[in-house]
Symmetry: none
Amino acid sequence: MPPVRTSSPAGASPARPRKQDHRARVGAARREKTRLLLLESAMLVFARRGVEASVIDEVIGTAGMSRGTFYNYFRSNEELLAAVARAVSDEMLRIVDPVALVHADPAARVATGVRSMLAVARTHPHLAAFMVRGGIAALGTQGLAVEALARDVAAGMDAGRFSRMHPRLAFDVVAGSVLAGMHTLLTAKAPRDYPEELAGTLLRALGVANATAQRLANLPLARALVPPESLLARAEARAARAGAR
Amino acid sequence: MPPVRTSSPAGASPARPRKQDHRARVGAARREKTRLLLLESAMLVFARRGVEASVIDEVIGTAGMSRGTFYNYFRSNEELLAAVARAVSDEMLRIVDPVALVHADPAARVATGVRSMLAVARTHPHLAAFMVRGGIAALGTQGLAVEALARDVAAGMDAGRFSRMHPRLAFDVVAGSVLAGMHTLLTAKAPRDYPEELAGTLLRALGVANATAQRLANLPLARALVPPESLLARAEARAARAGAR
Amino acid sequence: MPPVRTSSPAGASPARPRKQDHRARVGAARREKTRLLLLESAMLVFARRGVEASVIDEVIGTAGMSRGTFYNYFRSNEELLAAVARAVSDEMLRIVDPVALVHADPAARVATGVRSMLAVARTHPHLAAFMVRGGIAALGTQGLAVEALARDVAAGMDAGRFSRMHPRLAFDVVAGSVLAGMHTLLTAKAPRDYPEELAGTLLRALGVANATAQRLANLPLARALVPPESLLARAEARAARAGAR
Amino acid sequence: MPPVRTSSPAGASPARPRKQDHRARVGAARREKTRLLLLESAMLVFARRGVEASVIDEVIGTAGMSRGTFYNYFRSNEELLAAVARAVSDEMLRIVDPVALVHADPAARVATGVRSMLAVARTHPHLAAFMVRGGIAALGTQGLAVEALARDVAAGMDAGRFSRMHPRLAFDVVAGSVLAGMHTLLTAKAPRDYPEELAGTLLRALGVANATAQRLANLPLARALVPPESLLARAEARAARAGAR
DNA sequence: CATGAATGAGGGTTCATTCAT
DNA sequence: CATGAATGAACCCTCATTCAT
């Protein structure tokens, strides 16, 4: 029987002998660690070689484990890609959203979110590469971060901060520009304040007056907190180690 | 010796025997036709399966010719992709630029260019799919169309129509948004005037006042002329035929 | 990660769980068996079709295994050829040299070695075919057997049994003649005592007096022992089976 | 109708109008020239890449003519190889035999033939490479030169200059050694008098007393005459030109 | 006869996936 | 659960040969 493939800690059977409990807990923890190691390796490989590349050999090589083990965790290539995309998107939100939510003003939120995202992209180039490689098509299907943007844009229009526009269009402009911006950060020498410029430009696009846009794009920005145990942090750390060697 | 791989019609040696001349002319014409057929088929396949897909089999299937012939024209997969990208980019420019150049005002040009591009994308969904699949990374390296945009943006800033901004940033916002917009046109039900809305939004992003942006985004738009012998027209026609069957 | 490509049995980590040990041992054994099967099949195919032939399909067909497995063991055609050549050369030496080393006299050694080699070629026609196909150029680079010959020739010259001559010339005459002799044994009706005649002739070439040469070329000859598990024996047996069917 | 494929000057229709005659003669001459050019190019390619290599593209490239023309002269790859082998063998004989026939003594003839052959190999490395590439198996089937050797060996045995031995064995020793010797001349630094040493050694092998062998192997040697229009001379000249560039 | 575009069988190589241990 | 050998479909690419011009 193939092992269950879940990311949730395997719905612990409540009550029952301690022994079992303990074993189950240890097992689940190990599973989770292995899974994370695979996701982390996969992100690096996708970032380096593109999301359509042949990947499994390199992933298990990077993770230092065997083929068989890989298939204990993911049924296929695509399942892996989906899982990585999902995990990255979720983490991105968990990291960036708190920074944006500092502000009540939707315009400030959008500007801050954009800047924070680019800041993370700058410190985590492999994450950025992964997202750029995936492209717009990939982004469109990856829920959470998208919803946060939709939320802020809708609130901004309701509050009269933004011009009325088709919500999808707002998303296209912001997401498309941010993705292109990440690409620029990765491959070209962008000015230090590129994120602020981009944020301001996008606010203008959304209908915010130029002066206001400038101001909102230059509010103090809390440093995005990337938990050291997160996929992103671990992947980047590992890449650094590999690069150093 | 395999046949030469050129797109140029092999500068005919002037004068001398009709026989030679005639043969050369016929040969060159046939070569050109075959090459075009391959490019056309390749665009369709890339659009359907992504630019990183392994493709040759499908291309020759679509083009209805043999493996060997393919390799008489392109040394490899990448060479093919490069050639298609180049050809598409060039045609795009030849089609869209005349429409934009109707106007002297750089802002009008940008708006018209954006709208015209989206219009072509709408009537040529396979072209759009091809560009979206390629993503920003592909666009960045494909000269001509990019240069036209750069030209207009620079002129606009010099003329004071646009805010001063890093040229690359302007490119990122416009190109990223247009690409995302194409994706939307392809996959979602976008409002009729999506292209005009997007054009207006991008003018605002570039620093044009809202009212002016609205007006410039709704100037009368000449219908983009897609020559029936162009790669784009032929590919789309062929796709239609295939779909009908 | 593809399986490692080694012929060594992967030095077992001593001590520790039986499980591991056992698994490792079984795995290594299986690997070794597969590798041998491939080498064996390859030798037959090279013998039949020449060492420059494209061969992999036939090799895996003969070995009865899949394309993928082949590439788990050899990176390419040439790597395979090199491995076979090496293995054959080594086995040849292991089989023939003991027979020659029975004698202390270098001249007796050379004569006995030549005869023994031809005897093996007679009983193992596929081996002979393989060597003839490879030709002098192949032999020249394949160490061990060559060194044994060099050793005996040098000793013979030092002991005054052979005329002084350029060592390479001695090698050329002996190796070239033996190869040609193998070809004759394979394709023409050679007299029973062809090996003895050839050995005697070569001794004369090396400077041994005619009478002595005759005598040394007709010493009692120990039967060359071809271990039943050797590449040679297995290949020949398999060829016999295939021919019978 | 495919053109006739002959090397003979197309059995001229005797008598008849001058016009015809003249045209036929010119045509036949042109045919012969083209054919020679192809043979010449083929020899170079075979020498460089081995007789089993894929060859036609390179041959027509070297000869500077088209695929179609090639097939007007040779029905296939093998036909080409056979023709080259045949032509080379014949020329070899025409060049070397006159030098050997200076002597009446069969032993002197053999020694002189061997030396002369190696001399030609030295001055015509591409010829040597071609022969070494072909190997013993190729030599065995290539008549003329072989017959000359057989003739001299038989005469020598009849005259009591050589020991009695199986004729095939004599051929194996001489041909095998000469081929190996050519390989040495091509790839290793052989002493100046390698040909004389080899000739002497082979005479000893055939049963000639050492002192006599030495003497016969050092008779004055007429310079082999390689006609400038021969395949060999032309090929070598062309190779030199190509190398210089 | 010469030309060279087109052909397609033949061989090489990769890589996601399975499965016995 | 982990391991890694085996699998084979899917690609890639070459090159001898044909044939319309």
